[in-house]
Amino acid sequence: MSSGKLPVERFRLGMLLGDTRYRSTTVQVIAFIIFVAVVFWLVDNTVKNLALLGKDVDFSFLWMRAGYDINQRLIPYTNDSTHGRAALVGILNTLLVAFIGCIIATIIGVFVGILRLSKNWIVAKLMAVYIEGFRNIPVLLWIVMIFALLTEFTPAPKAFRGANPEASMIWFESTAITNRGTYFPSPIWGDGSIYLILTFLISLIAIFFFRRYAKALQEETGKGLPKFWISFGLLLIPSILIYFFLGAPVTLEYPYLKGFNFKDGIYIRNSLIALTLALSLYTSAFIGEIVRSGILAISKGQTEAASSLGLRPGRIMSLIILPQALRVIVPPMISNYLNLTKNSSLAIAVGYMDVRGTLGGITLNQTGRELEAMLLLMGFYLCVSLLVSAIINYFNRSFQIKGL
């Protein structure tokens, strides 16, 4: 059997599956065919169903008059506005809840996560109870519970009336918590308030440059300036001086009781408060666990090495532990922000008009355009989530330990 020629291999059909050279192509072709067939089947069904119902795919309803009111809005909107604008109001409402919720959740979550690691037994246990309690009960239940808390246990506006009222406003008679919502004082921007704002902005810029200078100074000479107190002073003193110099250009307008309800001031509905609070408390429990595991992920040797270099405990935390822990903490934290944003679609449980309430709720029901409305709705959420994924990926790339 020493023939110089290799046997010429003829192609057989069985080799499509048996031969590793062809198998991957075969599998992919089969997968592609199945995929196309399924998509075709779904689209075909949809077209047939739409034809049966006498419908078409048409987005022109977005430019038609909506005809319904939205009680919580950030941009001008009346029931004469279009469905498109209603959707925009909803999108902004969703983003509002997401934005405030993320900030509150981060603050509480970091706090809870660090305190759970406290050496103080009772504090650590209390935080464990907080985290387990919020994590193991559905967020929808938290939303309706907090909403019930706000509407059932707060006084009605009329309780604030009379010489000897049952309820009174808090914070120097400025804020009224009622079962319809909370009324805050609103600022009135008088003449010259533009200078105040400008001063404030200039202080912020000054703080930025000061911190850069202080850092450079420390790198160069090792001298440390009291960064916090100087920044604090820079932030407040010029603005306060200008404020009195201009003769108090900004005043507060207090809400006051008129008839059965409060007038003036900023009015925030209970639905918004309940939703934001519930989402941020729920998410903060998850963030607390992330922060805890992030700190635990940094080995003890780092702390010991830092203290052997002579750093104080506060500096060890801010210069050694946190910068390393952040690498572990930030990506899951951002994905929790995303979860919060998606969970805000539960707003319907308390009647808050987010994008699912306007576009995916009333608009959908009024126009009967389920397919279009759901497509737009999903598109919106997908855009947000892809954007956030992109941010996470960017973060991961730029904060990866170099050379690993």
């Binding site: 069985g14 599956l17 048996g18 991957s24 599998v27 992919q28 997968a31 592609f32 995929f35 779904l42 069904n45 949809t46 047939k48 169903n49 739409l50 049966l52 305190l115 406290s118 050496k119 103080n120 037994w121 009772i122 504090v123 209390l126 387990e132 309690g133 994590r135 193991n136 009960i137 559905p138 967020v139 929808l140 239940l141 309706v144 519970m145 019930a148 059932e152 998606k342 969970n343 679609s345 539960l346 319907i348 449980a349 699912r356 995916g360 959908l364 389920e370 397919l371 759901m374 709705l377 999903m378 959420y381 997908l382 947000v384 989530s385 892809l386 994924s389």
Partner: protein, 427 residues
């Protein structure tokens, strides 16, 4: 040596630890009052606990269990809980509108659930795995009722196609691919031509029937359990496949899997549930309509499968590449190496994530109340719509919250136990 005058021959007995270190006072000083900050925190926490318990304990402990309506409760004592609503409606909270003379069926299903998961979690009972396989059929029959034979015919279809595969492979010595083809063909043949006559024949000869319960009668924790556990059971294998697809070398398969996972993870579950309730009929052949609970289960399964895939992908990524290479060097095929080498390790790493996904899924079953299915949260508002219980909030919420807490907390504790048990400590 001579200048050493004295060497102790026996070690002296150890002294007891200082009193400030060993007893309760020592513990308290170390853990509660070690410095001024800790002392401040301790006092604040104790005050907070006191505030919470001061109002809650008398409210809950003095709760009224035997009043006919909220009015009666308030007349007796307005400051305590009115748990009578739970006494009056606990059956509804647990079973929804399931007919009360059939309660033994969901209860039996629930008990059998534990029997069926035992072989999965315990090595000792692994030989009873066949029961885990037939459990879904039993559960469907018990819960929805009707004749037993349609469920049997589905199982027989699979048995028949498995038999086809076995015979083709062993008797006729066909290749795996061809045997698979035979199995699929026999599956279709059985389903199209034999299943219906079989059901009709046996339904005639041996009618084993249970009272039919409509899906609209399901509710309460029964509904949460059904949606939750079927979602959990179904999403796990799909999640594994999606994770493998995402890690695969075949660009097209990978692309499809990535697109699917990212799409599902990008939209809130509530929009998917809306798709299930209003849009799914568009995507199916005209005239098909099927049960709303099944539709919800499908959507919940798809949703958690995408999350599961990401968790398992994390586990796969954490495995050193040497494991793949070593299994290839041993001559294992792709599926063999996945089954014997890769998956057992990857799944072990991803246990916490998997259980978290399960817990999330179970909590998310409350969302079905938004598409007006009567899960516990939906039932709470329904009970409140009754004139007798109008205005009752906390008692119901506390009861529902407690039930969910017990289930979810139990699952998370079990996962921690599993993690400790499976830890090999060689990594």
């Amino acid at each position: 040596m001579a200048n050493i005058s004295f060497v102790r021959e026996k070690s002296i007995p150890q002294l007891p630890p200082p009193i400030s270190e060993s007893n309760t006072i020592g513990w308290v000083r170390k853990n509660l009052f070690s410095n001024w900050l800790s002392t401040l925190l301790t006092i604040l926490s104790l005050y907070f606990v006191y505030i919470c318990l001061r109002d809650f304990i008398p409210w809950a402990y003095g709760g009224i269990w035997s009043a006919g309506s909220l009015r009666e409760c308030l007349d007796t004592n307005p400051d305590v809980a009115c748990f009578s609503v739970i006494g009056a409606r606990w059956k509804q909270l647990l079973f929804g509108f399931y007919p009360s003379e059939e309660y033994w069926r969901p209860i039996l299903t629930f008990i059998l659930l534990f029997v069926s998961v035992t072989p999965i979690f315990s090595q000792r009972f692994a030989k009873y795995f066949w029961f885990s396989l037939i459990y879904p059929g039993i559960a469907i029959w018990l819960l929805w009722g009707g004749s037993i034979w349609p469920v049997c015919s589905i199982y027989l279809t699979f048995v028949f196609s498995g038999l086809g595969f076995y015979i083709a492979k062993n008797q006729f010595k066909l290749s795996s691919g061809m045997s698979l083809m035979v199995a699929i063909i026999s599956l279709i043949v059985f389903y199209l031509f034999i299943a219906n006559p079989f059901v009709a024949l046996f339904g005639y000869i041996l009618p084993i029937n249970l009272v039919v319960v409509e899906s609209s009668q399901f509710g309460g924790f029964l509904l949460s359990m059904i949606v939750g556990f079927s979602g959990i059971a179904a999403s796990f294998p799909i999640g594994v496949l999606l994770a493998l697809g995402r890690q695969s070398d075949l660009p097209l398969v990978k692309m499809i899997c990535v697109g699917f996972i990212e799409f599902i993870r990008g939209v809130p579950l509530i929009t998917l549930l809306f798709v299930a309730s209003v849009l799914l009929n568009y995507f199916l052949p005209p005239g098909t309509s099927f049960d709303i609970i099944v539709r919800v289960i499908i959507m919940v399964t798809i949703f958690s499968a995408a999350y599961m895939a990401e968790v398992i992908r994390g586990g796969l990524a954490a495995l050193p590449v040497g494991q793949h290479e070593a299994s290839a060097a041993l001559g294992l095929s792709y599926w063999q190496s996945q089954r014997l080498i890769i998956m057992p390790q990857a799944l072990k790493i991803s246990i916490p994530g998997i259980v978290n996904t399960f817990i999330g899924l179970f909590k998310d079953t409350t969302l079905v109340s938004i598409i007006s299915l009567l899960d516990p949260v939906g039932l709470a508002s329904l009970i409140r719509a009754d004139q007798k219980w109008n205005g009752i909030y906390w008692e119901l919420y506390v009861a529902i919250g407690l039930m969910f807490f017990v289930c979810c907390f139990g699952m998370s504790q079990y996962s921690q136990y599993l993690e400790r048990k499976l830890k090999t400590d060689n990594s």
